[in-house]
């Protein structure tokens, strides 16, 4: 039953039909959650006891940074599935994720830099957390350009999967960098369960934003994957029948 479901999902034609219907189901909750999160974060949440209102960049910065790691893991996992089982759709998902992940990484670096100048006193420092996140951005850019450089998209998909897998070692480094080394970047606020380091009134909008960013990714990766599927299958009959006027 489950196996049959996956086999069906893996067929590009079926995927194209289903994903088109799924996109609004992700987009609408994403927009609602983002509105709620922004209202809660920018208007309802009180200012911080030390940073005043400057801390509010957390509502964009932290979810973006989480997404930059999450999307990379998804991309690498899709890469493995593509390499081992030779499922075309997995390759499509992997390469469709790369530009979204790169955008979130860039956003995390940019917002962090904007916050760092007034709070730390520097736009950029070469500490372990910041440097490893910058390497992540380069990995994403490498994946995108490698895919663009190879003509045969099946070969390109495999090459990209290998590159993504090589880079996956960077993910735990980014996560644990603040514990393994002395860094200027502060430690994790959310990823510990012993005691909350953030007040409830700030935590709730932060989690709403994080969920909204997840849904945004889900919607956008489906949209990108649909385009990629159409382009790859442009010579097949079902794509032809989509473009040609119905008689």
């Amino acid at each position: 039953m489950i196996v049959r479901f996956f086999h069906q999902m893996a067929s590009p034609q079926y995927f194209y039909r289903i994903s088109g219907r799924l996109v609004p189901w992700f987009m609408v909750p994403c927009a609602l959650l983002m509105l709620a999160g922004l209202y809660g974060g920018l208007i309802l949440a009180p200012p911080d006891y030390q940073q005043g209102d400057s801390y509010r960049i957390i509502f964009i910065h932290v979810p973006s940074a989480w997404m930059s790691l999450f999307i990379y893991v998804v991309m690498a996992a899709a890469g493995v599935i593509g390499l081992v089982w030779r499922i075309k759709l997995a390759e499509v998902v992997a390469i469709s994720s790369a530009p979204i992940g790169a955008s979130f990484t860039f956003l995390a670096l940019l917002t962090g830099s904007l916050w760092g100048k007034p709070m730390w006193g520097a736009w950029w420092v070469w500490d372990a957390r910041l440097t490893s996140e910058l390497i992540l951005l380069f990995l994403y850019l490498g994946v995108i350009s490698l895919y663009g450089a190879i003509e045969d998209k099946r070969v390109a998909g495999r090459a990209v999967a290998i590159l993504a897998l090589v880079g996956v070692v960077n993910i735990p480094i980014i996560h644990y960098s603040v514990e393994w080394w002395n860094t200027l970047h502060q430690g994790a606020t959310i990823a510990k369960f012993d005691k909350p380091s953030i007040h409830m009134s700030m935590l709730v909008p932060l989690l709403l934003m994080a969920l909204s960013f997840k849904l945004f990714y889900a919607a956008v990766v489906l949209m990108r994957a649909r385009c990629e599927v159409l382009e790859r299958e442009r010579n097949s009959r079902w794509v032809q029948s989509l473009v040609e006027p119905q008689t």
Partner: protein, 153 residues
């Protein structure tokens, strides 16, 4: 799973494991260079590089911040609750600089043991709360210290 897929999965696993091991060795080898700053204890023990700039990190000792007459030069002690280093800095301090706050200073050790900083960065901790909660916590903390003092007498 067919044998060929098993083999592919095994090869991928091997590749990732190999890269992980290589990275671990490399990071271990460069461990000292990846440390963003030295602690006052390490500086007092003479582990910090002499004659060229490095970073020092710690907490600003309470009641140690002194401003010189020119209004820009600040002198304060930096502590890790074990050892103290005196820091001298001329320039604008970041917003988060205050006594008891974690900071990182970039600069050089003078022969008399004073660290002359060319840059001071504030290190923020991972705690976020509204001002009322912070003041309530502080009141409770002071109360606790007062009670402890009473019970000792």
């Amino acid at each position: 799973m067919t044998p060929i897929r098993k083999k592919r999965l095994f090869l991928i696993g091997l590749m990732v494991a190999g890269i992980a091991v290589a990275t671990t060795f490399a990071l271990n080898a460069f461990n000292d260079n990846l440390m963003f700053f030295f602690s006052p204890t390490e500086v007092v023990a003479g582990e910090a590089p002499k004659g060229h700039p490095f970073r020092i990190g710690g907490l600003v000792t309470v009641n140690s911040v002194k401003r010189q007459e020119d209004g820009l030069t600040v002198q304060f002690n930096l502590t890790d609750n074990a050892d103290d280093v005196t820091i001298q800095y001329t320039g604008i301090l970041p917003d988060l600089f205050r006594e008891g706050q974690g900071i990182i200073a970039m600069g050089q050790l003078r022969d008399d043991g004073v660290f002359v900083a060319s840059e001071v960065l504030a290190k923020h901790d991972e705690n976020y709360m509204p001002p009322e909660v912070a003041s309530a916590l502080k009141t409770a903390h002071d109360e606790g210290i007062r009670k402890q003092g009473e019970s000792l007498q």
